[in-house]
Symmetry: C2
Amino acid sequence: MTKQSETRDLVLDLVERLDVGEAIPSERQLSADLGVSRLTVRAALDDLAREGYLVRRRGAGTFVSEPKIAQELTMTSFTDDMRSRGLRPASETLELRVSPAGARLGRLLRVSPSEPVLIASRLRLADGESMAIETVHIRASRVPGLTARDLEQHSFYELLDERYGIEIVGGEQTIEPTVTDEDESEALGVPLHSPAFRFERLTHSQAGEIVEFVESIYRGDRYRLVTALNRPRERQRARNARAISHDGYH
Amino acid sequence: MTKQSETRDLVLDLVERLDVGEAIPSERQLSADLGVSRLTVRAALDDLAREGYLVRRRGAGTFVSEPKIAQELTMTSFTDDMRSRGLRPASETLELRVSPAGARLGRLLRVSPSEPVLIASRLRLADGESMAIETVHIRASRVPGLTARDLEQHSFYELLDERYGIEIVGGEQTIEPTVTDEDESEALGVPLHSPAFRFERLTHSQAGEIVEFVESIYRGDRYRLVTALNRPRERQRARNARAISHDGYH
DNA sequence: GACGACAAGTGGTATTGACCACCGGGGGAC
DNA sequence: GTCCCCCGGTGGTCAATACCACTTGTCGTC
């Protein structure tokens, strides 16, 4: 839409056609070729550099960087996550029921404890083998007519978006280590008390409303998190800046 | 140093003195007050917005946002990590020895298998109670004269930087769930086979050299990861862009 | 042939000026 | 008194320009 995002996409196409380490045209060159200001080019390149596609070297040029590893955890669905790991995703519904939220779930979803909540538990498969158990909790009135068949044939987030007009834009996730209990072990086909991840995810829509609470158990022997680490930014501020200033910001 | 970073820090000071939801001065106002161009102000605010300190509302203003939760994993030391969680960090050296790297460690650190490597195992405490076991592996010639006392009195990363002139700028970390073995259970004071995180971290310096390999076992009952989730960016590019273009990027 | 100074080109920073879409409140119409 | 419109101010985008610090390759000197 904007020139900046157009530039970004054009450069991204270019990047994908070049090898790692190759230089892309200079900012001034791109600016002239694409008919946009250098500022616009820089903003686009800033974006791509921040996302790890490009590395800049002052005085030398801008180069295609090595394929990044996931820098931050994003709001990816199981389906997309597995595909990006080169695995074929599938799903089996273990349970699909509606029941009152109760105290804990009501608090998490910000609904009354008596509010009917849909609870859908699915076994997640990767390349035909069990990978995780995922249990979605969502206010039942948000997803009228949802069936087990729907869940097995579509990505839940796509369903929410396309059928129910709910677009998820963010969330918060806690991760802790655990071991599988009897039920989980049986469903996943692993020994009792196998190491596993427990994810708890609370997602919200554009309007800031809580949409769903998801609890997942991932097999520790098949799933690991890999992240890039960056050095945190330092403040670099004067130690006594606050003591000196007392009215405003100067 | 640069006006942009000065502006950033000044606004950050201001942000910390305001309440959540309050508006900061407009970009044009800040620009006039600080004597810098609006673009410079914008770049600084972009930074702070990206880091979660500010939220912008077009047509309305820029506001102090709710305290962010960690959006991405950063290269923080145990010391800083605990402090940010409001806990008092401490450390006990369990083992400090030098031995040949061997095949696996040599490959990880990119040194010869016969190269002497310093292996330092420390029990990490938070508020006086065990939190983790951290084992650092580093080429011995990088840190001549390092003692157990050093490790207990200083942050290892500070030592590397200040005494040995090695600055760590990034790394890669894998996280998996596990259970504690006999030794770990005894050192941590938890029951055998308690759930725990295993972190494996490989860090590198500015020059891109591998600096150290760190293996950590964190108590699952005391430590959890909390992250914000963002919706991944979409490409928004024409499906057949590559098919059409064949010479360059237009 | 080896070394070093120089120049061209690169990314990094900053300024000024302009227009747009959007939000919100105040003032007018009713 | 209530409603609605409009308009000032806000962030979002973009252009043209300038100077700096740095890299790198070349050309000259020795």
